[in-house]
């Protein structure tokens, strides 16, 4: 088992609480910097998955129309907590270059980042990172996580 996988500090536990219906909450820090009610979706390729304490980060390269690419960073949970939501989560669940679709609560300051709601990976599996996030009316992005 990869050693980093065992860096299982789970301090974003509040996000789990979203599963029971109200606005997702962050535990390690306030989620105020994220707009949990106006979720966005992007597609791109995996740049790197940081499997780390206190939060995991998924970095995605998004191709732009002008031929360049934008780099996005998505924060979510921590290893133990992610595994608690979906046992498929691990530091090796995706690799650089994998095509992914990501849904997230964007940073309110407009930078390329957000709170990860879920990511669709090439196997067709949807890895949920924060149950309840991006399913919340009103003002939420249309549609929730894919089935």
């Amino acid at each position: 088992m990869p050693s980093m996988k065992r860096i299982a500090i789970s301090v974003a536990a509040g996000m789990l609480s979203a599963a029971v219906g109200n606005a997702p909450a962050w535990a390690h820090h306030s989620g105020a910097m994220f707009d949990m009610f106006h979720c966005k979706t992007i597609s791109g390729t995996v740049r790197v998955l940081q499997w780390s304490y206190p939060h995991n980060w998924l970095w995605v390269d998004q191709p732009l129309a002008n031929g360049t690419q934008a780099v996005w960073g998505f924060e979510f949970m921590s290893p133990t907590q992610a595994e608690n939501i979906d046992p498929l989560w691990s530091r090796d669940v995706m690799k650089k270059g994998d095509k992914v679709t990501v849904k997230f609560g964007p940073l309110r300051d407009g930078r390329n980042g957000g709170a990860l709601a879920w990511v669709l990976i090439p196997s067709g599996h949807t890895l949920h990172a924060s149950p309840g996030l991006c399913t919340l009316p009103p003002g939420g992005a249309p549609g929730g996580p894919p089935p």
């Binding site: 050693s3 996988k5 065992r6 860096i7 299982a8 500090i9 789970s10 301090v11 536990a13 509040g14 789990l16 609480s17 979203a18 599963a19 029971v20 219906g21 109200n22 909450a25 962050w26 535990a27 390690h28 820090h29 306030s30 989620g31 105020a32 910097m33 740049r47 790197v48 940081q50 780390s52 304490y53 206190p54 939060h55 980060w57 970095w59 780099v71 960073g73 924060e75 921590s78 133990t80 907590q81 608690n84 939501i85 650089k96 940073l107 930078r111 390329n112 980042g113």
Partner: protein, 257 residues
């Protein structure tokens, strides 16, 4: 003959003294009956809590402070009007201590899904948390020590005793301890936390806790937390090195590819 009687008397006295010493020893340092873990011998009579545990999702959602305000109706946290107001008007820009890699403290550290070890050594049960926090529960003390060193504490002073296979922990003086998971509200110097910790079965540890503080709660607030045995091992915490959320900002510098 007189000499023989004298010797027998001395022997009886010695035996009596030995028996008396033994009974005093068996009473344990904290004054409670039964094995108290204050000696290596008594530790052998206590349950096996080896391995790692983590608050499981069911335990997380079913109780505790974390899912407030998502608790089912009728099970709301019994906050006083002042603390209801403080929660409702909390400045979202103020981060809990944990956001800056400081301890969550009591009771907050018990409410996170982090790996935890329970180490039983003579006179002490030590809780090691994967974020680097440590709680020391003294099982060889009948009373709390001088609390002055704890007047700015996150974890407070904890003493414990065993009631069979249940460890009863009494914690006071933890004014920096986080009350909840996702806001900066903390306990007060008068908060009192009592936990009853036991293995419900081989794979699940239950912690029935009562938090009392008239300034915060209108009545003693009880929770039932479930920790599940984990297959993971503890590793070194490195929050300060890896957190991108220090000081209320987010560092979006991409990592090296």
């Amino acid at each position: 003959m007189k000499q023989q009687k004298l010797m027998m008397g001395c022997a009886a006295l010695l035996l009596g003294c030995t028996a008396l010493a033994g009974s005093v020893h068996a009473q344990s340092a904290n004054g409670y009956p039964g094995p108290q873990g204050d000696t290596l011998d008594s530790l052998k009579q206590l349950p096996d809590w080896s391995g790692t545990f983590a608050l499981d999702r069911a335990g997380h959602e079913g109780s505790g402070y974390a899912d407030e305000p998502n608790r089912p109706q009728g099970k709301a946290v019994p906050l006083t009007p002042r603390y209801e107001y403080l929660r409702a008007h909390a400045d979202p820009g103020i981060q809990p201590a944990l956001a800056n890699c400081l301890p969550a403290g009591v009771p907050g550290v018990m409410l996170h899904t982090i790996l935890t070890e329970f180490l039983l050594t003579p006179g002490r049960v030590t809780m090691l948390f994967e974020d680097g926090e440590v709680r020391r529960i003294y099982t060889n003390l009948a009373h709390h020590p001088d609390l002055e060193p704890f007047d700015q504490s996150y974890e407070g002073s904890s003493i414990g005793h065993w009631e069979g296979n249940t460890l009863v922990v009494d914690t006071v003086s933890f004014p920096k301890g986080a009350l909840f998971q996702n806001d900066p509200l903390t306990a007060t110097i008068n908060s009192h936390y009592v936990e009853r910790i036991f293995l419900r079965d081989h794979d699940h540890m239950e912690i029935d806790a009562t938090l009392t503080d008239p300034a915060i709660f209108t009545r003693p607030y009880t929770t039932k937390l479930t920790y599940a045995r984990s297959k993971e091992d503890m590793v070194e915490p490195e929050c300060a090195a890896t957190s991108r959320d220090l000081n209320g900002t987010i560092d979006l510098t991409p990592p090296p590819e």
